[in-house]
Every structure is written in structure tokens, then in C-alpha cells.
Symmetry: C2
Subunit: 366 residues, 2 copies
């Protein structure tokens, strides 16, 4: 299980997402993967750095939306222009994963493609590399493979992957099915049962296997991707994508493919994974001072504990000091055009702010 | 009791103060009178507007420190250059009030000078005008006169003026003495007794009367002011002030003069006065929405009550929205180089932030 580069391994980073759970940090035009929500570099940069030792820039693909191309490219400055898969319209994950699979299959059908979300956090990068290597090995044998995270608590915010046997070790094992986000009771049963893993949204497969699965279960998608593929072979991919991509079925790879194939594998992982789904999680993962405050260097805390402070201003005219006095468990986030103060436990309510701003026509703030 | 202009009435606004109680809004280089702590214009502008109907720009003097000249002048654009009394060094109130009194006495010894702090708030401007007119009438008769505010509660943060008889009406009456800030018990006795008024720090007198009082009780100050006066008559006031002012005794007019004169008068006032001594007071005086939040237009409050939000940024690159969700009774203040979050009830603790910043060498932030 080495992490060294293999010239038939490719990676696709899914970087089209948007979201308002991190408003005002995140925006429609500035989704979470472009932000340094954990650590000092943007999540997408960290994602690329995790997989680059395996694939190199030559074989690193990034799928994103038109409106995010510029910002994404500015963060991944060495990304090859041709390796940016620009989706003219959001069609969920099946079309863009299919696009990448068809593209790799054209020249390297046995090539293994690693598909990774761009906006997750991994604490143990080395452990992640080992899991990925095992997943590549599994995929090389012809099995579409996923990664499942050992659940540490009955999380209701994640989907799960049910496996056939009890989970032991980190070797690839047979998966039974994907399970939607459960309610609390079922989540507890999953954790107790030892046969459910968190679905981390990662897929590893030989290009030919995914192409075959799409042909078998999503013929309409296959037809569209064939057309793009023919245009690409003729040197005219962009125009074809522009024309065809928006007509492809909008569906996740989970529902479009994984739910229908006869069998797939999962590599159980335990590398400090998080989808960084909330300010709460961002605070948990952040570096904190002795009073458990996470804040920019130079912030002043007087009798203030467990606060999360984020300064995401870019046009800042001056260095700025942030001082919190006598407040606990707050989230304070500032950007160039917004300032948010909310208790960490209520951070999900920022969606109401977004709703107010939309309603009053402040669309550019959301 | 008219508010119309009289050509022998002058005003002196004391605008040399500094303070850190409103950090980060206020700074050594940006004291509270220069800030719009209540309403939309700076307190000094509001102070000038209250007295200008009585004196006009011709007879409006402003005393301030060297480091504040530029900012003060930028707020009072019509102030005559010669009417700015620039103190080369802070010497408390007796020297600069004396300077103004000697200056007026040189050409108009019977002229009446109204001395006003620059950083107070007055709710009932008309009522204030009536009290001022009565004070001018009293001063014209040769009595150094002050204004005393009917106490509405046993405030321990103010000095008091004890009067001889029970207070009734708003006519000038004989004052007995100034009383330093009392403890709670004495303050309660003052309010119950009906013979104590809040000392609002305002003085009204004929120039010749104050000159005589200074000659009688502060001969060293009188000697220095005589020297400045002679230089001024010879057209060389600036150099003399530069040389002499820093050598004058540093003492308040209360202790230097008022404690020693045989008698003085007080006009009892009831015009919604406040010294705007804290964020708490600023919030009380501010215009508030239905949930008692005081904030810039466009702010968003979701389940948030009784908060005070101040945006005092000047170099703001963009319009900015401030959103508070699920928090009550907070003070949130932002300037170009600082952001403060503190419960209103703990706002006095910002002095600890100032201490931290000083200790670590961030002097320009305080």
C-alpha cells in the first residue's frame, strides 16, 4: 500500500457545490471548498494536496461550475487548463463523474479514477493515503469501490453504507447498499450494529467499469457522454459540452449508478474525516487556544471561551484586532460585506438571514 | 428667556477630552465627542448646533488638543480659525476656561461666556435653550452660574451640586457647593433630599467675573494668562501659548475656582441630559427597533433583542450587512481596525482589552 505515483491513477475533485450553511463565509459565488474553514488554506487546496502524491497534476481533474472557474483556478494554479471540467449547468454528480470516466476511458480504459468531494477535511493524511491505496487496489480488480468511515457517533446528517459482514481492518470488503440519512434511532442502531459506515462521497473505479455501469443503468447519460466523447476526440469538446451537458439527467452517482449495480466494495477508513458541515464542526476541528477559542492571530479574549472567530475579509484596508469580552460559544464571522454574530449552537439559523436578504433583494450578499 | 442671538454672549466648547470607555469607537486620537454615539452626527457637532442660535460662529470658541485640531475642524467647518483654542498640552479645565475668559474680557469684559462640554447629549434642545437663557440672565448680573440637572436616579457616576433651598422651577438659585461622586447610599440621600442636582459641567459667567475669580484664587494661573493676553494683544498669541500654557497649573475649574468663590448660582435643568458615559447609555439614548435593537439601517436581526450595533468604519470598501442571530443584550462595535463583541452589562470591561493591546505594543489601536 504505497502512496507513490502510479501513471494509471487519476483523480477527479468535485468542486461545483454551493451552500449557505456558512453564510456569510460561503456564498452562491463562494462555496465552502474555496474557504479556509479548517486550517489556513482553502479546503479544495487541501484536497488537491492530499491526492497529488498519487496522481500528479497531469492526471488531476477538477469539475466545477462556470461561475467558479476563475476562483478555483486561482487556488489551484498548477492545474492544467484542459483538466478543468467546466459544467455549463449543475446536473448533480452522475453526469460529471461520467464525463471524467468516459474521458479517461478513451485513452486508458484500465486507468483508475479516484473521485473526491472538494470540501471535506481529513485529519490523518497518511491514514487517508493508505485507505486510498487499498481502494485503488480494489478498483483495479474491477470492483467499483467506495470509502466508508467508521462512525464515531449516531450522526443523522450523513448517509451510510451497509456492509455484508462486521467491519474489521481497512481491507476492501463487500458493500450491500447505500442508506439515506437516518433518524436518530436508526443512526444509533447503525453505530451499535457494526455493519454501517458513513458514506464519505468518495468513489474509486476503473474508467471502463464506470463507463459500463453507466451504459447499463443510465443509457440516456451514456448517449450524451458518447456524443461529448466523439466531439472531444475531434478536438471540439467545449462546444459539445456547452450544448449537451445541460440536457443530461440531473442525478447523483449514488442514485443513478450505485443503487443499481450488482455489487460494489467499500474500504473502511478511520482517518479523522469530516464533511465540515457546520460552524460547529469548523470550531471542533480548528486549532484553539487554552480557552478553546479559535480565532485569527492577535485576537483578544477577556473572560471569553469556546468562540469561533473568522476574518475572511479580502479588501481589508488595515490589520484589524478582534476583541471578545465576556461572551462564550459564539460564532463571529466577517467578510468584506457582512458581519455575523450567532451562538455556535444556533449557527444553522443563518439560513434565516439568507432568506431575509433574498426577500429584500440583497441577492449579491447571499 | 429668548434664544435669539445676543452680541455679548460667547460660547466655549471644551473638546480636549480623550477616553477609552468606548473602545474601539473612541481612541486617544479619536475621543468620544468626535463620534456619533447618539444620533447620526458627532456629539461635538450636536453641541455646537445647540449653542449656535445664541452666539453664532463669530463668538463660538472651541478648546482642544493639538492632536485633535484637524479632526475637530473637519467637523466644525465654519469655525473661525482664530476661535480654535489649541492647548499644546492637556492642563485640565481651569487653564483653558481662563484663557477664553481673559480673551473675551480683553475686548468685552461684560460679555457672557457659556462653557459647555463637547461630549454630552441633550434630548430636549428647546428646554436646554430656555435653561441657558436663564443662566445667561443670571451670569449677566455678576454671578458665576452653573447648570444642575434634576437627578432621576441615585447615580454614583456623576458629581452633584448642593443648593441652599429645595429646588423648584428653572430659575437661577443660590448654590452651596460642588460634591464629588457619592457612594450609593449618599446618592440615594441626595435624590430623596431634593437639594442636590447633577453637575453637568457647564459654566456661565461674565468674562470679568471669571477673570477676577482667577486673580483671587489662582494667581499663578492669572499671571500666565496675563502674559498670553499681552502677547495676544501684540499679535503673537500662538508662540506665547506654546511657551506658557504647558507651565500653567493643571487643575479643574471646579477645584481651582468654584470651590473657593464666595457664592455661585445654579439653574436647575430638566432637558434630558446625559454625559453618554457608557455603551449602556448610548443604547438607552439610541433610536431602537421593535425588538429594542439599535443598529445601522439594513442590519438583520433574527431572534435577537436589545443589542447595540455600531459601524464606525470609514475606509469601508463596500456596504456591509450586519446580522445578529439568537443573541441578546450585546454591544457590537466595528471600526476600520477593530471589532468588539461584549455584553452591554460588561461594556466597562473593554478597558481590559485596551490594557492588553497597550501591553503588547499595539499602541496605535488604543
Amino acid at each position: 500500500m504505497s502512496q507513490s505515483m502510479q501513471n494509471n491513477v487519476y483523480a477527479l475533485i468535485l468542486a461545483g457545490g454551493a451552500g449557505t450553511r456558512f453564510w456569510p463565509a460561503s456564498r452562491a459565488a463562494l462555496p465552502k471548498q474555496l474557504l479556509p474553514l479548517v486550517g489556513t488554506s482553502p479546503l479544495i487546496t487541501q484536497t488537491a494536496e492530499r491526492v497529488l502524491p498519487l496522481v500528479g497534476w497531469e492526471r488531476l481533474l477538477v469539475a466545477t461550475g462556470k461561475h467558479l472557474v476563475e476562483q478555483t483556478a486561482s487556488l489551484l494554479t498548477e492545474l492544467l487548463a484542459g483538466n478543468m471540467l467546466v459544467e455549463p449547468a449543475p446536473r448533480n454528480t452522475a453526469p460529471c463523474i461520467g464525463w471524467a470516466a468516459f474521458r479517461v476511458a478513451r485513452t486508458d480504459p484500465d486507468g483508475v479514477l479516484i473521485v473526491l468531494p472538494s470540501d471535506h477535511h481529513v485529519q490523518d493524511v497518511e491514514g487517508f493515503g493508505a485507505v486510498l491505496a487499498e481502494a485503488v487496489r480494489s478498483a483495479s480488480s474491477g470492483m467499483i469501490t467506495t470509502i466508508g468511515i467508521h462512525p464515531t457517533h449516531p450522526e443523522t446528517g450523513y448517509g451510510y453504507i451497509e456492509v455484508v459482514d462486521d467491519v474489521t481492518g481497512i481491507e476492501a470488503m463487500a458493500a450491500l447498499r447505500f442508506v439515506e440519512k437516518p433518524d436518530r434511532e436508526r443512526a444509533e442502531a447503525f453505530v451499535d450494529g457494526g455493519r454501517h459506515l458513513w458514506n464519505a462521497g468518495m468513489f474509486i473505479f476503473r474508467a471502463r467499469d464506470m463507463v459500463a455501469a453507466i451504459r447499463a443503468h443510465m443509457p440516456a447519460l451514456a448517449a450524451g457522454l458518447d456524443e461529448i466523447d466523439r466531439a472531444a476526440a475531434a478536438g471540439d469538446e467545449d462546444a459539445a459540452v456547452e450544448r449537451i451537458f445541460p440536457t443530461l439527467p440531473s442525478i447523483s452517482i449514488d442514485h443513478g449508478v450505485m443503487d443499481h449495480i450488482d455489487s460494489f466494495a467499500v474500504v473502511p477508513g478511520d482517518f479523522g474525516w469530516s464533511d465540515v458541515g457546520s460552524f460547529q464542526t469548523a470550531w471542533e476541528l480548528a486549532e484553539k487556544d487554552m480557552a478553546a477559542n479559535a480565532a485569527p492571530h492577535g485576537s483578544v479574549f477577556i473572560d471569553a471561551k469556546r468562540n469561533l472567530v473568522m476574518d475572511l475579509r479580502k479588501k481589508a484596508p488595515d490589520r484589524r484586532v478582534i476583541a471578545l469580552v465576556g461572551v462564550d460559544d459564539l460564532v463571529v464571522v466577517e467578510t468584506d460585506d457582512a458581519l455575523l454574530v450567532v451562538p455556535r449552537a444556533r449557527a444553522q439559523d443563518v439560513k434565516e438571514v439568507v432568506a431575509v436578504l433574498k426577500a429584500r433583494g440583497d441577492g449579491k450578499l447571499v
